[in-house]
Each structure stands twice: as C-alpha cells, then as structure tokens.
C-alpha cells in the first residue's frame, strides 16, 4: 500500500512538471490554435542557461529568476522574428517551422553544452519536509513550485488588465484591435510567458531526469498527453490533465507495462483521447464551419 502511495505521490511531482509545460502549450494554442512542438526544447535550453549561471557561482534562486526573465525575452524574440512571418501560413508550414526550431535548439544545446549528461542540483534542502516520507524533498518542492506557477498564471489572467487583454486578443482579435489592444504584441507576450513557464518546468525536471539535450522530449510528450486529456483549449483542464498523466504514467510504469516503455502510455493517452473525445475532459468541442 505504501509502495502504491509512493508511486502516486512521486507521480504527482512529475505530473506537476507536465502540468506546467502543458499550460505553456495551451497558452500558445489559445492564441494561435497551434501546438508548439519546440516548447520542450526551448525549456531544455532555458534549463542549460540556468545551469550555466549556477555553475558560475550565482545563487540558485537568483539564477532561477534571471532564467525566467531571459526565457521570457527569448520567447518574445522568437515569436517576433521566426514565427511572425508565418502568421497566415497553412498548418503544415508552421508545423515544419516548429520542427525546425526544435532541431535548432536541440543541436545548439548539444554544441554549446555537449551531449554529456550533467547533474542539476535541487534547490530544496535534503531533509524530508514535515516528516513526509512519501516524497523526496525535491518532489515536494516541485509540487509547491507548480502550485505557485498555476496560482500566478491564474491571477495574471484573471486580475490584470494585460491578462484580460491577452484573453481578449486570443478569442476575438478584430474586436480587440477596436478597443485598442495591440494584438501582435499580445501574441509575442504569450510566447514569452510560455517560454518562461516552460523554463520553470525544465528547472524542476532537471534534478529528476538529469540535464541533457534530449531531457525534455519525453516530458513534452507527457505534457502533450496532459493537454490533450484535459482539453487543449482549457488551461486548468490541461493542468489537471498533466497531474493525471503523471500519476497514470508512474502507476503504469510500476505495475502495468514496466518502466522501460512508459512513453507508450503517453502515446496511448494521446491517440485514445483524440479518437474517443477529441475535445478532452474539459475542453470545448470544435465544429468545422462549412
């Protein structure tokens, strides 16, 4: 029983990371109806940036904050420079561009930081918190960080004028321009936020999965599964989906399919949900207009 609980709780810790990355995916999906295949690699690159700063002696939380800021700027620049020219391109073209970005980030990371696996220390103290024996301190800390991110994102979109403007721009660009919202910038800010949130996911994942240029590939797949499961147009659905996938993955890995083919769990969830209920658990059904 305690073994099962242990699996569930450490599943929740990874699930939180999937939830954050899924949230980043949803953020771009809501504004553009596209899924950013490079989101994971962007997060991986941010994590290397953090590692470099920590390695050069910067305190962890300073590096953490600076990485988030740099990722935000980087995400905005990518939108403005790389993505913007394809604003009206067909889906196939944009998917190819995303794959191009994925390859570029992956190889630039390999080039700059080498393909050797690195350790990435956890910022959380080594002793277990509050007598919590079910999770390591990093797992508890990662869950706390996840909740902090979710709360901040919620507050941003719910209570700030900029958050409101971004929601408005995503759902009705024409009307948004009429009330004075600069829709193009809202998209860029959306990319920046997604990159910043993704960076948090990367930094929380690195102590668990170790740092290497391919570290986010599996995580991205689980985040896809989480987003699809919860409904890719619904941020909170996607977050719940991320947690669910984390737990399912861990339990399936431990008791059903074995740890070595855990990724197939994500594949099955993605294909299964898309076939049975394409809108996900909490998403809206899309209707094709003739």
């Amino acid at each position: 029983m305690s073994a099962l609980l242990h699996q569930i709780f450490s599943g929740l810790a990874m699930g939180g990371i999937y939830a954050i990355l899924a949230l980043a995916l949803v953020m771009i999906y809501q504004a553009t109806h596209l899924v950013n295949f490079a989101q994971g690699e962007m997060a991986m690159f941010s994590t290397y940036v953090a590692w470099e700063m920590i390695d050069s002696g910067m305190p962890y939380w300073a590096a953490f904050a600076l990485t988030i800021v740099l990722s935000f700027i980087g995400g905005m620049l990518i939108e403005r420079i790389v993505i913007r020219p394809f604003a009206h391109a067909p889906v196939l073209t944009i998917v190819i561009v995303f794959i191009g970005l994925l390859l570029i980030f992956n190889s630039v990371a390999g080039w700059r930081y080498s393909y050797t696996i690195k350790t990435f220390d956890s910022p959380f103290p080594d002793k277990r918190w509050f007598g919590n024996t079910l999770m390591s301190s990093h797992e508890s800390g990662a869950i706390l960080v996840t909740f902090a991110v979710l709360a901040l994102v919620y507050a941003f979109f719910r209570f700030t004028p900029l958050g409101l403007a971004m929601r408005a721009a995503a759902q009705n660009p024409a009307s948004s321009r009429l009330v004075g919202i600069r829709v193009g910038w809202m998209l860029a800010i959306g990319w920046g936020l997604a990159a910043a949130i993704g960076a948090v996911a990367g930094m929380m994942a690195a102590p668990i999965v170790y740092l290497d240029p391919n570290m986010m590939l599996g995580i991205l797949l689980y985040a896809f599964a989480g987003a699809v499961l919860g409904g890719i147009d619904n941020p909170w659905g996607a977050a719940i989906g991320g947690f669910t996938v984390g737990v399912l993955e861990n339990i399936a890995g431990a008791y059903v399919v074995g740890p070595e083919i855990k990724l197939s769990v994500a594949l099955v969830i993605i294909v299964g949900v898309l076939v049975v209920r394409p809108s996900g658990l909490f998403g809206r059904t899309l209707v094709t207009r003739v």
Binding site: P161, L164, A165, R167, A168, Q171, N172, A174, S175, S176, R177, L178, V179, G180, I181, R182, V183
Partner: protein
C-alpha cells in the same frame, strides 16, 4: 459648427475589389450623422475604412488633423469608439470584463469607475448580468453591451453599425432613446449606419444616402425625410 470628422475622396478595397469610390462625408461636432443606403452600398465599409480595418485611400481629417496613418489600435486612442457590425462581443468573457476592455486605453481609474456606474444606469440589465458570460446574453443585451463597451472609452465620436439589427421594436426604441440622451448630455458625436432609414432620420440631424460607394444625396435629416422623391426612390417607403 465645425466638422469633427471629414473625409475627402475616401476609397476602400477588399483585396482587389474597390468598394468605396471617393466618399466625401462629414460629422459635425456634437452632431449625429446617418449613413443610409441599400445592402452593399458601402456603409459598413465606410466605418471600417475610418478605423483602418480595410485598405483605404483618400484624406480623413479628425479634429482638424489628418488621421490617415493611424492603425486600428490607435484610432481608439483619438477618442473614436466603434460599435462594429455583429456587435464584436467577447463571448467567453464576462459582461464586466467586456466593459473593462472598452476602457482598455484609459488610465483615469476613478473616472472609469464613474463610467461603469453611468452605463449600468443606462442599461440596468447589464448590471444584473455583470458576472455572466457575454455569449449567453440575448441579442438586445449584446447590443446594449456593445454600446456600453464603446461608451466606456468616454468617446468624442461614436461609430455605430446597425444598432437596430435583429432586435425587437421595443428594445430598438429603448436603445435609440438612450443614444439621443448620450448625444445631448455627454456631447458625443455620432456616425450611424442604418438599414432602418426612418429610425435613423429621426435620430440624426444630417444624412447621406450612399449608392455603390458614392454619396448620392446629402442634406439635413428632416429635409431628406420629407422629400417624397428621395423617399420613394431610395428609402422605399
């Protein structure tokens, strides 16, 4: 009286297709001008051209200065609010959020608060449904919301695209009464596009009849209304 808004030779295009062929219209400071005409004459396009929502050529003067170079996002910053064709409701946002967006470009928080009270005063129904998703409102309520959203800008000029479209007569009457009040009390100038000529001519002081992208007839609203030949050939009643 001096013209607040004036166009000279305004042309507008949808892709390669020209819709306006040199339109000269004016809205007087504090006045209400009506644009009348058949379907496809270019009334909605005129409003869109003013807000740079379509490709356009020609001169547009506003408050004595040219505003041709203004992008859509910047036109509002001149105090021009547009109640678009189809109402432009943000259906997933609440009524209150829709109104907050109307005041998006303003930074005078206290005055915005007052304006909330003011539009809720005009349309108490909206206050009742403040927290409701705007998409769940009825057509009449969405039109009220669209007008209120525009008023939240505290505009100098209000562009109204068929405010009576698809509404029950009793609601239309209500909305037009409020428009008149807004014009008198707040000195908001208006340019109104309407299918329902009678209604528009009652409200407006000046009117233009547009035919295939050109002004066919213009004059004081009362004169146009009483001119039998105009009425028969253009307004069809």
């Amino acid at each position: 009286m001096e013209a607040l808004l004036e166009t000279r030779g305004l042309k507008a295009f949808y892709g390669p297709i020209q819709v306006l062929h040199g339109l000269d219209i004016a809205v007087q400071e504090g006045g209400i001008t009506a644009l009348l005409g058949a379907n496809g004459a270019g009334k909605t396009t005129t409003l869109r051209a003013l807000c740079a929502m379509v490709r356009r050529e020609g001169a547009i003067n506003y408050g004595g200065a040219a505003m041709n170079a203004r992008q859509t996002e910047d036109v509002v910053r001149l105090g021009i609010a547009h109640v678009p064709d189809g109402r432009g409701t943000f259906v997933d946002l609440t009524v209150e959020e829709n109104l907050r967006l109307g005041a998006y470009t303003r930074s005078d928080r206290e005055a915005v608060k007052q304006d909330f009270a003011r539009v809720y005063g005009y349309f108490p129904r909206l206050e009742e449904r403040r927290q409701q998703q705007a998409g769940t409102l009825s057509g009449g309520e969405q039109q009220m919301l669209a007008i209120s959203r525009a008023l939240m800008l505290r505009p100098k000029l209000l562009l109204l695209d068929e405010p009576s479209f698809g509404l029950a007569p009793i609601i239309i009457k209500d909305i037009f009464r409020i428009l008149r009040a807004i014009n008198r009390e707040d000195r908001v100038s208006m340019l109104i596009v309407e299918q329902n000529a009678n209604l528009a001519l009652d409200l407006a002081d000046h009117a233009y009849l547009i035919e295939t992208g050109r002004v066919a007839i213009s004059g004081p609203a009362a004169a146009i209304k009483s001119d039998d030949s105009v009425r028969r050939s253009y307004l069809g009643y």
